[in-house]
Symmetry: C2
Subunit: 502 residues, 2 copies
Amino acid sequence: MRSGIEVCFANPGTTEMAFVAALDEVPGVRAVLGLHENVCTGAADGYARIAGRPAMTLLHLGPGLANGLANLHNARRANTPVVNIVGEHASWHLPYDAPLSSDIAALAATVGTTRTVRSRADIGAETIAVIADARIHLGVSTLIVPADYQYARATDAEPVPYEATARPVVSADRIEAVARQLREAGRRATIVVGGNGLSRRGQRAAGQIAAHTGAVAYSETFPATAERGGGLPDLDRLPYFPERAISALAHSDVVAVAGAEEPVAYFGYENVPSLLCPAGSLTHLARPHEDAEQALVDLALALAADGASMTAIPSKETIDSGAKLTGDFVGKVVAARLPENAIVSVEGGTCGYPFYTAAAGSVPHTVLTNTGGAIGQGLPCALGAAIAAPTRPVIALQSDGSALYTTQALWTMAREDADVVVLIAANHSYNVLRTELSRSGNAEFGPQAERLTSLDDPLMDWTALAAGFGVPAYRAGTAGELDTALSKALADGGPHLIEMSL
Amino acid sequence: MRSGIEVCFANPGTTEMAFVAALDEVPGVRAVLGLHENVCTGAADGYARIAGRPAMTLLHLGPGLANGLANLHNARRANTPVVNIVGEHASWHLPYDAPLSSDIAALAATVGTTRTVRSRADIGAETIAVIADARIHLGVSTLIVPADYQYARATDAEPVPYEATARPVVSADRIEAVARQLREAGRRATIVVGGNGLSRRGQRAAGQIAAHTGAVAYSETFPATAERGGGLPDLDRLPYFPERAISALAHSDVVAVAGAEEPVAYFGYENVPSLLCPAGSLTHLARPHEDAEQALVDLALALAADGASMTAIPSKETIDSGAKLTGDFVGKVVAARLPENAIVSVEGGTCGYPFYTAAAGSVPHTVLTNTGGAIGQGLPCALGAAIAAPTRPVIALQSDGSALYTTQALWTMAREDADVVVLIAANHSYNVLRTELSRSGNAEFGPQAERLTSLDDPLMDWTALAAGFGVPAYRAGTAGELDTALSKALADGGPHLIEMSL
């Protein structure tokens, strides 16, 4: 376990007891208990996004891995290195098909690479290999370890210190080709930045390119990690709904992606194209696994754009403290109150989009979003980020429907005294689904559709849920109340929850 | 949807909106919203165990199915018919690998049979086929439906009414062979009853056989559905820990399984055999999918045992109402207070085993247990049972560690006004893991092992969690307090939670 891995987000069972005992025998790995595996895997994702190196998860057999798959799906879409150690029945017990037996490798293969330890002698080499898998592929890698092979010491093998992946550098030819395209297209061009292009250096270069050529620069819609504020250009996110994204890109002869996936619709809609940019416009500056940051810097140089600049203007807007909270007001209050170097884990659209827009001119901060769309990611991701960066305050800006998937994360925040302020946008509905139902031509919902998209019967009491998990909580109904509660929570330190009545 | 399926446990997303709209257009299917897919799948399992026919689940893409896999694993091990409808991206959108795309079929294959709708014309036939799959295999079957094929009406196809599976009948030769073995073995024989052998009729026959031959009769350790009380013989469960089970079976020349899986250790332990019965002793009266009930009745006839009888004696023990609660006291109080025809969903050992023993002589009731070992099954299963049998009171006797996996079930209980009394055995630890750590030779736990098996920092407040989800709650520290709270909760009707401090 001495391969640069320092944290293990764990929910072990009987087949992992040798690992649990080893955590005390071999120093250097801090175990963090999650009450559900999706808390562990989401926290590992958040940890790696901030720490730049993987955390480990320790999961119990097939069902334990299954419970954590949704956030591993998100980690896969974030290109985050995550290393799962999954216990298996003792090798000689497997043929008996005991109740907890299932096809662990098949589950693991849906989210990344998989290895299985086949003998006691192999555990050291396989442990090193699974960490290398995560590093090289920037993804999820899983090691399945039968219980009888866990007693061999992984530490007998020579430890290999973890090195961050050296992302492949984009060739000078490619840079020159895209520079030529952008020069020709002028204002009829768009750059979509993602991956490590959303570092401060990458975005500054993107801003220079945009200012110099007249191209429009967007961030990908759901970045894993985006630096924001502190004088960075305001790279707004490409709109979520395809009609709006298509319209945003319609003027472009060239759409250059830099570390982002190709712009495709989140869902398919009848008579709406899946590819959002005009036919023939797409060009790749850097693939998601390549060094988009360096490519943008090189492109700015090639265009002689590095003298230009683009800086977001801090908002001077004052907010009426008596105003009833809306998504817009929440975004503005949080943007105004943001501590320097805060990390903001954003899940859900109600407040997420307004905050992103409002905080462009704020102090420097880092935004983490839900990359894969499997909901229940925001709270675990915030937890993992707080453990990766104990000196940075973390805010989880969270819609209620998705928070309900992994409320157990609150307990681990309390146990680890994590500096996370959880802001729950309590609109008591699956609002995005109500929008989608309307979009698909259902102007009036029948009683069952109504009931399947509403969370208000009974009303969830978030302050009670937080108290149940040991987290102090407040309620806010106006912009002023939110501001007061948020200031107090940030000043006090440790985990807090604020239920925002929308 | 007119194939005998009346209830749909749903957590839909954008790709299932056509189904949601159809629920209002086509009458006859009641939609029940779960806040997490593992609530939906566990409820479908509990529903089918009591109703004898499947419920449907409606799940959103790969991550939605992944979230529900743990309780589908349990349903698979319970041989329960469950029909999953999982939405997929529109067929023409799939090649774009949008963020929520993943290998749904691979996930579904780990728990049962899988079908994918390949054209708009096929949806009717495939819907009927997936229901038939669940019925014929007594298991989990999944239909993946791309969004663009959902607009075709499944109802255009001829509906096929759901018929309970006719379990294959055991041959007369097999009955006669086992009868001969039992006659020869006399007291040196054990019968392990499972599957539909745990019906009232099956257990009465097992009791007759045991009384007549001197054989010992056990229930399988984790039955899906076991009738208990009301004069049935006390078929105790085969012990969980292998050493105790091996010792219980050691005297047997013949171990006849009737509807139960072969007796194997739950986990493999060094130097403990996986097969729990003596070499050469195992004989099959009925396989888990066969008609064990009829086989037991036929066997009793073949042995001329049908005149014999074995009846559990109601306990006359009085309980000191001031006694501090222990697992034993909880078992006795609940057994004494049990309403006639109650359903008891048992998850976790702390109170589960004592209750099972104590309730042998109680009023007639049905016990549901966690068949697959994936924890977080008890509350959803209780919810599904309550929806299947609205006139029967349901008690969920639940350990705290496993309840924390699917606390969201409380909200659906409140919303549906389900008659479920949730009893939480709050020992604030993963007690079974502490036992397992000790078993594996760790007399003293290191600080990390201690921390990974304790749930007391911070203490969970179950009454606050219940309040958060809209369920009234009490706390009980003594036998008398539990008795009072349980009586009141049962008298009031609707969902209640009682935190039992152990």
